[in-house]
């Protein structure tokens, strides 16, 4: 099975590797087209880069699987364990406290346990830029977002997106309307599943009939439904999240850009750092927050839409990026990482 690819890919390729890096997924599985999948990509990239590292993954179906899975990684003799999802942080803390010699990492969560490395992202920043692009590209003056489930890793994107649109309206005097998310009320359209792409499609169709011509689904695999809806409507396009959708989906032609979260890179770096630590380097510790400043979050290239996005807009985006990096512009979401 692919989820268990390490036995073939990572595992078999680097069969004699001395360093075993393990990952425990959140519910949704390793192929969730979202943080599990990105994290796993980072793990594999690390194994790719360093032949002495092999990687493996254990999937959880619910939070009740975290403990046995984490325990199993310890039993399997993993040298570094990555727990994906903020919900798992406490469980990671418990296992890490019991096994102070093993380094751990928690993705999308914050931990104060010394041997747990926190990996978080301020995706509101990249979503802000995506929202600004959307506002500049819409022909109908309406763009729409919808989410899988109303949880912070999802709504932080929607908040940033909404603020980006508001910024565009403010700076350029446009009146672009955002459907599907009310930032003040922190409420909007959620299909209450990350799996049901058909529901995502019909929700997207509904937004299209309401006049939206750019869709911003924040729903993992269910978001594919928005891409297919865009594919079926010539005038409609989409913005993807987490990864560069042009690369990771088959709908590159519909995707203006993506609000990327550099999970894979961060995880890869953490694995490599852990490897170094095990081989005499500095122990990895503390917390990492991905921002525009450290390239932890970004917006993807425009690919097919490169000519559609005006140079003016591109310049404005660069300027905004700079402002965010130097702190003159603050993109705030209630869901932003509250680390440190």
């Amino acid at each position: 099975a692919c989820g268990q690819a390490p036995s073939e890919n990572g595992g078999d390729d680097n069969a004699d590797a001395s360093f075993l890096a393990c990952m425990v997924t959140d519910s949704g599985g390793v192929d969730d087209k979202s943080f599990n999948e990105s994290s796993w990509a980072g793990m594999e990239a690390a194994a790719e880069e360093n032949d002495d590292i092999k990687v493996q993954v254990k999937e959880s179906s619910s939070e009740t699987d975290y403990d046995p899975n984490l325990q199993a990684t310890v039993d399997d003799g993993c040298n570094f364990v990555v727990g994906v999802g903020g919900l798992m942080t406490e469980n990671v803390n418990t296992v890490a406290t019991a096994n102070p010699d093993i380094p751990f990492a928690t993705v999308d969560g914050f931990s104060e346990v010394p041997n747990v490395y926190s990996i978080q992202f301020d995706t509101a920043q990249s979503a802000f830029l995506a929202g600004y692009v959307a506002a500049s590209q819409t022909k109908t003056g309406k763009v729409a977002t919808w989410g899988g489930v109303n949880i912070p890793p999802v709504t932080i994107f929607m908040d940033g997106f909404a603020e980006g649109i508001a910024k565009h309206n403010e700076d350029k005097g446009t009146n672009v309307e955002l459907l599907g998310w009310d930032e003040a009320a922190q409420d909007g359209t959620f299909i209450n599943t990350f799996e049901d792409a058909a529901a995502g499609k019909s929700t997207s169709d509904t937004f299209i009939t309401q006049g939206a011509d750019i869709l911003f689904p924040v729903a993992g695999p269910a978001g594919i439904g928005a891409l297919t809806a865009a594919a079926e409507n010539d005038a409609v396009s989409a913005i993807w999240v987490d990864t560069d959708g042009f690369e990771s989906t088959e709908y590159g032609a519909e995707i203006i850009t993506s609000a990327e979260k550099g999970l894979a890179t961060a995880v890869k770096d953490s694995v490599l750092a852990a490897y170094d630590a095990a081989n005499g380097g500095d122990a990895i510790s503390g917390a990492y927050v991905g921002t525009l400043a450290n390239d932890g979050v970004s917006i993807a290239p425009f690919h097919d839409f490169d000519s559609a996005v005006s140079d003016e807009t591109k310049a404005e985006l660069d300027a905004l990026t700079q402002q965010i990096i130097d702190g003159t512009l603050v993109v705030e979401s209630p869901s932003s990482p509250k680390a440190q």
């Binding site: 268990q4 729409a144 359209t189 799996e195």
Partner: protein
């Protein structure tokens, strides 16, 4: 009365004599009163409900006074309920209850769409509703054929999964989306064949087999999904074009709903009538219904009960398998694990709501498609009166009300689920 003597007791039932329907009448009258209360106590006097034909007459919008409209619908429902309480001719019951339910639903709709920023885009909503009703339609039609033959097919969910999966796989391998649809049908057929075999030859309890086949299909497709991901291009999305019937598509309402849809819609609608005709007008249908009602009677007239059941169930798989293709091909989606999300079970409910009759199934599927579509539309429109989760409950709640309030005890084919063992042969 007529002297044609032996007609005997059917003459007892006078179709025109008024009959009192206390329960249904009470429910409908109460619902109507509720609407009236809402109209005058909840809805603001100046509120309007805007209706638009958003695809054909794009410039026109009709703002209608909400209070007045809801009140009228309420009054209709109350009147219908009252008529039932007084007594109405038996053969009018279906029509009147249908009108009353429709009035109630319309009343709620008018209320819901009176919120600021919401417009009832009639054409998009109806067209979407028809499309969304398809999985229920295919699943329930397959169920109808099986259960009319006396075999409970609780494994529709599994057949959906197999169809959805195989449809994409075959389309990818052959590069032809129609081959994919055929593949989905074959996959459905193969999985119902297992049900047919176990239910007839091995006399296994059919509910049990169905539950197991669902589990098997889930396990198998999930497992294979992981296998497929190892190779590129075996699970890519395929699309079928939307067929636009030229000028017919520009007719208001009917055009976008009926003449601008994917081939799945036309196959679905055609199947309803084909299955109805086959069941009620052909030799096969007569025997099928006999086998589902009273297999021993059919057997005693020389009908090979288990063979007929076997083939009917097997062939019904073609329909549920095709319904599986809806999830992937009709939605232009690749396969993903457990993507049918329990709709196969809802299709079973639709089959029962439709009383094992293809026409009833069409009505039931449309109710589901419509409420799902409206719930999504309202949720997407924002500012909904209730949280999105409650809107998403709407189809299920409506089914509960319809089943409990109006349909009551639906009568399954008498031998449904009973293995037939002809003596000891």
């Amino acid at each position: 009365m007529a002297v044609d003597t032996m007609t005997a007791s059917p003459a007892l039932v006078d179709e025109t004599a008024p009959v009192r329907y206390a329960k249904a009448g009470g429910v409908l009258a109460a619902l109507g009163l509720l609407l009236l209360v809402i109209a005058f106590a909840v809805i603001g006097g100046g509120d309007t409900t805007t209706i638009s034909f958003d695809r054909t007459l794009t410039d026109v919008e009709w703002p209608l006074p909400t209070t007045a409209c809801v009140a009228v619908f309420g009054a209709i429902a109350v009147a219908a309920g009252a008529w039932m309480l007084i007594g109405l001719p038996k053969r009018r019951f279906k029509l009147v209850s249908g009108i009353a339910v429709a009035a109630f639903v319309l009343g709620l709709l008018f209320w819901a769409y009176s919120q600021p920023g919401t417009v009832f885009r009639a054409e998009s909503i109806l067209a979407g509703a028809l499309f969304l009703s398809l999985p229920y339609l295919f699943g329930a039609l397959s169920g109808v054929i099986c259960e009319r033959s006396g075999v409970i097919n609780i494994g529709i969910e599994g057949q959906f999964l197999m169809g959805a999966f195989t449809g994409v796989l075959v389309a990818n391998i052959t590069g032809n989306v129609y081959a994919g649809m055929a593949g989905a049908m074959i996959a459905g057929l193969l999985s119902t064949m297992l049900l047919a075999l176990l239910a007839t030859k091995y006399q296994v309890n059919q509910v049990v087999v169905g539950v197991i086949l669902n589990l098997l299909a889930l396990g198998f497709t999930s497992f294979m999904y992981d296998q497929l991901k190892k190779s590129e291009g075996l699970n890519s999305a395929f699309t079928v074009p939307t067929l636009s019937w030229g000028p017919l598509a520009d007719i208001p309402v009917i055009g976008p709903v009926l003449f601008q849809q994917k081939i799945f819609v036309y196959i679905g609608l055609a199947l309803v009538f084909v299955v109805w005709f086959l069941l009620y007008r052909t030799r096969w249908g007569l025997r099928t219904r006999a086998v589902g009602e009273h297999p021993a009677a059919a057997d005693s007239m020389g009908v090979n009960v288990n063979r007929l059941r076997y083939w009917n169930v097997t062939l019904a798989g073609l329909i549920s398998g095709f319904g599986g293709a809806w999830f992937t091909i009709a939605n232009s989606l690749a396969f993903s694990k457990n993507m049918t999300a329990g709709l196969g079970f809802v299709a079973l409910a639709v089959m029962i709501v439709g009383r094992w009759n293809p026409l009833g199934v069409l009505a039931g599927a449309l109710i589901f498609g419509f409420t799902t579509q409206v719930a999504r539309d309202l949720d997407a429109a924002g500012g909904a009166l209730v949280p999105g989760e409650f809107l998403q409950m709407l189809p299920y709640a409506v089914t509960l009300v319809v089943v409990a309030g109006l349909i009551g005890k639906a009568k399954a084919p008498a031998a449904d689920g009973v293995p037939y063992n002809p003596g000891d042969k």
